[in-house]
């Protein structure tokens, strides 16, 4: 019973959102507002349950973990944001999270986004027994990366063989990449639509399995 009511309610709100395709209307507006409240409310509940309770409140109540009061007080400073005279205090926790986050991220990004990618771009484009389309692919891969980097190079005019031709090839490669993204994005959006149709026709109306 519980599940059946749930599916009917879900179907109602699915159709409420789709009604926007015809015309903006009050039911759509209601659904749109509800979801904002519910999602943040849900996040609050979960955050309390999985963070504050087990990591702060329980250790504190058990005694001994008084050091956890420091992050708790720092966190509470966020609230000063709503009192304009001392709103600047909210910068402290922001600064802590931002600064440490940036520090942790710096070497890891350098390793993962830069060194590792550079290493992978330096590949032998031919090895024995490789089919021709892979060899061609590897050449496109290495020179394409180079060309696309040239396109994003701002310190030189795009003239001459290296920078001129290079950046032109670069933008073509980028467009091919964007074409692939485009195709996949279309596929993704349609997948989501398919998911909803399966819900409406299957879970709700039982017209399909």
């Amino acid at each position: 019973m519980y599940e059946i009511i749930g599916i009917w309610v879900g179907a109602f709100f699915t159709l409420a959102i789709y009604s926007f395709l015809y015309k903006e209307n009050p039911v759509y507006r209601l659904a749109e507002h509800l979801v904002v409240g519910i999602s943040l409310g849900y996040t609050m509940a979960i955050t309390y349950d999985v963070v504050l309770k087990p990591r702060l409140i329980e250790p504190l109540l058990a005694g001994g973990s008084w050091i956890l009061l420091i992050p708790a007080l720092l966190g509470l400073l966020y609230i000063t944001r709503f009192i304009s005279s001392i709103a600047w205090l909210s910068r402290y926790p922001i600064a802590f999270v931002l600064g440490t986050g940036m520090g942790v991220g710096f070497p890891l990004t350098m390793k993962s986004n830069v060194l590792r990618q550079l290493e992978a771009a330096m590949i032998p484009f031919y090895q024995e027994g490789m089919p021709w389309h892979m060899v061609l692919g590897n050449v496109v891969l290495v020179l394409g990366t180079l060309a696309a980097l040239i396109y994003f190079f701002f310190s030189k005019p795009h003239k001459g063989f290296f920078f001129g031709t290079g950046s032109r090839i670069g933008i073509w490669i980028i467009m091919l990449g964007f074409g692939a993204t485009f195709g996949f994005t279309v596929m993704g959006r349609i997948s989501l639509l398919i998911g909803r149709i399966q819900y409406l026709l299957g879970d709700w109306l039982h017209l399909i399995e």
Binding site: Y2, G10, Y18, F20, L21, H33, L34, V35, V36, G37, I38, S39, L40, G41, Y42, A45, Y48, D49, L68, P71, A72, L74, G75, Y78, R81, A87, R91, P93, F96, V97, L98, G99, T100, G101, M102, G103, V104, G105, F106, N113, V114, Q117, L143, G144, T145, L149, F152, I173, M175, L176, G177, F178, G179, G183, M187, R189, L192, L193, R196, Y199
Partner: protein
């Protein structure tokens, strides 16, 4: 106090964590461990900011009886009802169906369908844009559209029916030119992130201070 101290915290925190990465020693590890246990607690409080601003915006609307103010109740009531409900039926957090609760119901049967539907609407808009806006107005746009069509056909079973090699072209575009473009962007973005990290740590970029009085 208002600007200098936060800038100092950012700088000290940033440099400390950066240096920490290179030092495996136990004291350095202890710094890191306490960071890992503190950061989630601070982040949890940050949620108050979101809840607070949302409450403020909608309370304001209701008070002023602004256009469509009635809908603001549809935001505020579930916002505060959800945590309360969750603690009346704490077991419901598990997400299982065996112990139904209003909390679980609101999430599973209102939030999930609405959110899933929102983005699926894009399928309709893409179709409309395909007809009315995606133009091969330049050589580059033409390349983009052609690649898109090849990939779109190659990704679905019908591509196999057109020709066995057809999806292979799509895969080739994905594995080589696409990879080259994405890697170049990744490297560029990587440097962009690194530069932003540095600018923030060393106080060159201070936009994040904004909005809380001078």
């Amino acid at each position: 106090m208002k600007r200098t101290v936060p800038l100092m915290i950012v700088m000290v925190g940033g440099i400390l964590m950066m240096v920490q990465y290179f030092i495996p020693h136990q004291y350095s590890q202890a710094v890191f461990d306490s960071y890992v246990s503190w950061a989630p607690i601070i982040a949890a409080f940050a949620l108050i900011l979101g809840v607070g601003s949302l409450t403020r915006v909608h309370a304001h609307k209701i008070r002023r009886k602004a256009e469509n103010w009635q809908y603001s109740w549809a935001v505020l009531i579930p916002l505060y009802a959800m945590p309360v409900l969750a603690h009346i039926w704490p077991v419901s957090l598990s997400g299982g169906m065996d112990e139904p609760s209003i909390f679980h119901f609101l999430f599973m049967h209102i939030q999930v369908p609405i959110q899933a539907t929102m983005f699926s609407m894009l399928a309709f808009y893409i179709a409309s844009a395909a007809f009315r806006a995606f133009r091969a107005k330049s050589a580059l746009a033409t390349v983009l559209l052609l690649a898109a069509v090849i990939v779109m056909l190659g990704q679905v079973p019908i591509g196999d029916l057109i020709a066995k090699w057809f999806p292979q072209i799509g895969l080739w575009i994905l594995r080589y030119p696409n990879l080259a473009a994405k890697r170049a962007i990744m490297l560029g973005v990587g440097f962009g992130i690194l530069a932003t990290n540095l600018k923030i740590i060393f106080g060159v970029e201070r936009n994040w201070l904004g909005g809380a009085g001078k």
